[in-house]
Subunit: 256 residues, 4 copies
C-alpha cells in the first residue's frame, strides 16, 4: 500500500463542500472550522485513512486526481471546467506522444491536464501574452509535477507560433479568429483545432475564420453539467447549476 511521503499531495476531505488539497510536510498544521489538522501526522499513513483534528473531527486522506488539483488553482482568469476539458482532450486526441500548442495559458488548468496525458514523449507549448497569468499558471502547475512536459511562452499568438507540425492546437483567447491563420501554419495536415469562447459572437467570427483558412469538419457545441442530489425518496437535481461556461468549436486542417 502506498504510504504518503513528505511532499505528496493529499485531498483532505471533511464533507462534499469542505475539502482541501494539502502538501504533506513535517512542520505543517492546517486550520479548519472543525479544528487544527496535524498535517505532519499524515506522513506514513495510507491514502484512504483518517486523521483527527484537535477538536476530534474525522478528516479523510484522499488521493487527488489531476482534476482535483484544478480546484486549487489560483484563478486570475476563468478556469476551464472538467466537462469542457474532458471533451477537448478526447476530440483532439490528446494522449501519449502528442505535440500540442495552446494559447492562452490562463490559470494553466488545461495545460496541466494535457501535460499529464502526453507524457513521456509529448509536449505542450503554451502561450500567454500576460506575464502575470503565465507566472501564476507555472506556480499552479508545479504541484502536478508535469513541468518537464511544458514550455511556457510569454508571447502574443497573434504574431504566430514558433512550432510547426503540432498534433493539436487549442485556442482560449478573446479573439481566436486572429490566431486561426497562425494555427493553420503550425498544425499538421488532417489534425484538429479546438477553440473555447464564452460569447456566440466570438463563435461566429471563429467559424468564419476557420472556413476561410483551410479548416473543415467544423462543429460547435456547448456542454451542461447538472448535479443530482441522490437520497432514497428525495432524489432530485440540485436547485441551481452553472448555465454557461463557453462554446467549444472543433475543426480539422486540410490542404486547400
Amino acid at each position: 500500500m502506498d504510504k504518503i511521503k513528505e511532499g505528496d499531495y493529499v485531498l483532505l476531505y471533511f464533507d462534499n463542500r469542505r475539502e482541501w488539497l494539502v502538501k504533506a510536510s513535517k512542520e505543517k498544521e492546517f486550520h479548519t472550522h472543525k479544528g487544527m489538522v496535524p498535517i505532519r501526522e499524515v506522513i506514513g499513513k495510507s491514502y484512504g485513512e483518517r486523521i483527527q483534528s484537535a477538536l476530534g473531527y474525522d478528516f479523510w486522506l484522499l488521493k487527488p486526481n489531476s482534476s482535483d488539483f484544478l480546484s486549487t488553482f489560483k484563478r486570475l482568469t476563468q478556469v476551464i471546467y472538467p466537462k469542457d476539458a474532458g471533451l477537448i482532450i478526447l476530440k483532439l486526441g490528446i494522449g501519449p506522444g502528442k505535440k500540442v500548442i495552446e494559447t492562452g495559458t490562463g490559470s494553466g488548468a488545461l495545460t496541466a491536464l494535457m501535460a499529464n496525458l502526453v507524457k513521456p514523449d509529448g509536449h505542450i507549448y503554451t502561450y500567454d501574452m500576460n506575464k502575470r497569468f503565465l507566472n501564476s499558471a507555472k506556480k499552479n502547475i508545479r504541484k502536478l509535477k508535469v513541468d518537464n512536459y511544458i514550455t511556457f511562452k510569454n508571447l502574443d499568438a497573434r504574431e504566430g507560433f514558433d512550432e510547426k507540425d503540432a498534433d493539436a492546437i487549442i485556442l482560449d483567447v478573446a479573439d481566436p479568429w486572429s490566431v486561426v491563420p497562425h494555427a493553420y501554419e503550425s498544425l499538421k495536415g488532417g489534425c484538429s483545432i479546438a477553440s473555447f469562447s464564452p460569447t456566440i459572437n466570438q463563435v461566429e467570427k471563429t467559424v468564419t475564420a476557420l472556413k476561410e483558412n483551410g479548416f473543415i469538419s467544423m462543429e460547435s457545441i456547448e456542454t451542461l453539467l447538472r448535479e443530482i442530489h441522490v437520497e432514497e425518496g428525495k432524489t432530485r437535481p440540485l436547485s441551481r447549476m452553472i448555465s454557461h461556461t463557453g462554446y467549444l468549436t472543433f475543426a480539422k486542417k486540410i490542404f486547400v
Copy 2:
C-alpha cells in the same frame, strides 16, 4: 510531413454527415453515393490532402483521433458518449501508468480510450460476462493498436475482480450495487470509482451501496451536449439533441 502508409487509418471526409474511417490498403476501393474512392491512392499522400472519387467529388483525408474511432465501433450495446467518457477520464485521473478495472467492456469504447492514455506502463483490466460483447469489443479495439495495454476477462464481476490495488474502477453494468463490495476490495485507498447508469433508480441503489461499503465524496451528475448551428445571421442551437445518456456517480474509497 507524415505520409499515410499501408495499414494506417484515415478519416475519409465528404461533409459533416458523411465521413468514414477506412484503412489504407493497396487493394481497396470504397463505394459512396458520390462515387468510388480509390483507397489504394491514399498511400503516400499526407493527412489533410484530398482525393477524388470516380465521379469527381473531393474527399478529404483527415487524421482520426481516438474519439473518431469510437463512431465506427460495432455496438452490440449502448456506447459511451465522449461527453461522459471525457469526464470519467478526468475525474478518475486516468493517465500514464494507471491500473484501471472496468466492467462491463460493452463495445470497448471507454476501454480503448483509457488504454490509449495509460500507456506505456498502465493497464486496463476489463470484465464482461457476455462473450459476444467481449469478442466484438476486441475487434473494435484492434484498430487503435492498444491491445497490449488491455486484459479482457469473460467473467462476472459480481463474483469479484482478480486484481488488487487498482488506481480507478469503472462500473457500467445493470446492477452496479452488486459489484460495489468487490470494487472496494480491489481499489487502492483514497482512490476513485465511477458508475454509469441510465436510470435514476440504479443511481439511488448504487449510492446506497457506496455509502454502505466504505466510499465517501459521492457525487452524481448528468451531462448534456448541445450542438449549435453557426452561420452569420443564422446562428441557433440545432432543433434536436440527445436528452439523456446516463447518470455518472463518482466516489472515493476510505478505510472505515
Copy 3:
C-alpha cells in the same frame, strides 16, 4: 355529466402516441390501424367513456383542452410550443378583457390560445402578410369556436398596425426589429411586448431596436422541455428532446 353532442370535439385516445382530435358526427367513421372507430356512436356518451373499434380495441373519449387542439393545427409554418406559449401568456398578462396585437398569425396556434383567454370582452388583432397562412389559420382556429374574438388582417405589420392602445403585442416574424417602432405606437404605456425568434442574431437586432425605440425591462430567455419516462425501477429522461424552438424577448414601453 356532459354528454357528447353532434359537432363536439373529442380526443380519441389509444395510447400516448396514438390520439386524434375528431368531431362527433352522425355519419362519421374513423379508420385506424386498430380498426374502424364508429364515431357516430360517440354522440350521447360522456367524456371519459370508452368506445370499441371494429377490431375490438378500446379507444377513450377524452376532453380536448385548447392545447390539444394545437397538435391538430395544419402547419404551413413553425407552430409555437406550449412551453413558449404559456410563458408568453403569463409574462404579457393575457387574460379577460385584454386587447392584443399579434404578427404573424402563422398557424394561428397562439392566436387561438389567447382568444380563448381574453373572452368575452377582449380581442386579438392578428396580422399576416401571407394570405395562405392566414386562411389556413382561420380554418385551424374555427374548431375552437373563438372566431368572434379575433380580427384577421392580411397586412404587412412593417407598415404599422391600425389599432392603438393595445395591452400587449406579440411579434413572431423574421424581422421583428422592423415592426418594433410600430409596436411602440400601438402599445399602451407601461405595457409589454414579446418577440419570438429562432436565431440569436434576430434576438440581438430586436433588443437593439427595442432599446432605441422606448422600451425597457428587457429580458431574453429560452425554455427547454424534457420528457421523463416514469416507471418504478426504470425512471429516466427520454433519450431525445427538442433542443431549441426559439428565444423569447420581453420588454415594456415607456414614454421617453
Copy 4:
C-alpha cells in the same frame, strides 16, 4: 390613456434587478438606494411615464402583469415559477368558465393566475391544511382583485374534496398519491389533472397512483428556463440558472 388612480398597483422600475410593486397612495413615500420616490405623485400620471426620486434618479411607472404580482408574493412555501405555471394552465385548459380544484394553496401564486383566467363564470376551489399558508395566500391574492373567483378551504385534501365535476385539478402537495383517488371522484370524465413534485420518487408514486385510479394519457416532464445576456458582440447565456424547480405530471380521467 389610462391614468393611475389611488389604489392602483404600479411596477416601479429602476433597472432589471431593482423593481418593486407599489400601490398608488396619497400618503406614500417609497425609500430606495437611489433616494425617496414620492409615490403620491404617481396618481394622475400614465403608465409608462417617469418619476424622479429625491436624489434625481429616474424611475419608470410600468403596468404590472399578473406574473409581476407573483414576485411580490410572501412565500412561506416554494412558489411556482411562470415556466411551470404557464404550462399547467395550457395543458389543463384553464380559461373562462372553468371550475378548478387546487391543493395546496401554497403562496397562492397559481391560484391567483388561474382565478384571473376563469373570470367571470369560473371558480377556483383551493385547499390547504396549513392555516398560516392559507391566510398568507389570501393576503397575497388580494392585490390582484380576483378574490371573488376563489374559495379558500382550510381542509386536508387527503380526506376528499367537497366539489364534484371539476374541469381540472392541480396537486402541489408532498404526497399527491394520497389525493389521487379523491381527485378522481371530483374530476369530470375525460378531463385533466396536473401534479407538481420536486423529487423523482414523488413522481414515480404519483404515476403509479394515477395508473391504479383510472387515469390515462400520463405525461411527466420538467422545464428549464435559461436567461440570455443580449448585447451585440457579447451575447451569451447567463452564467447561472435555476436547474430544477419540480417535475410536472399530467393525466386524464377515464371511466374504467
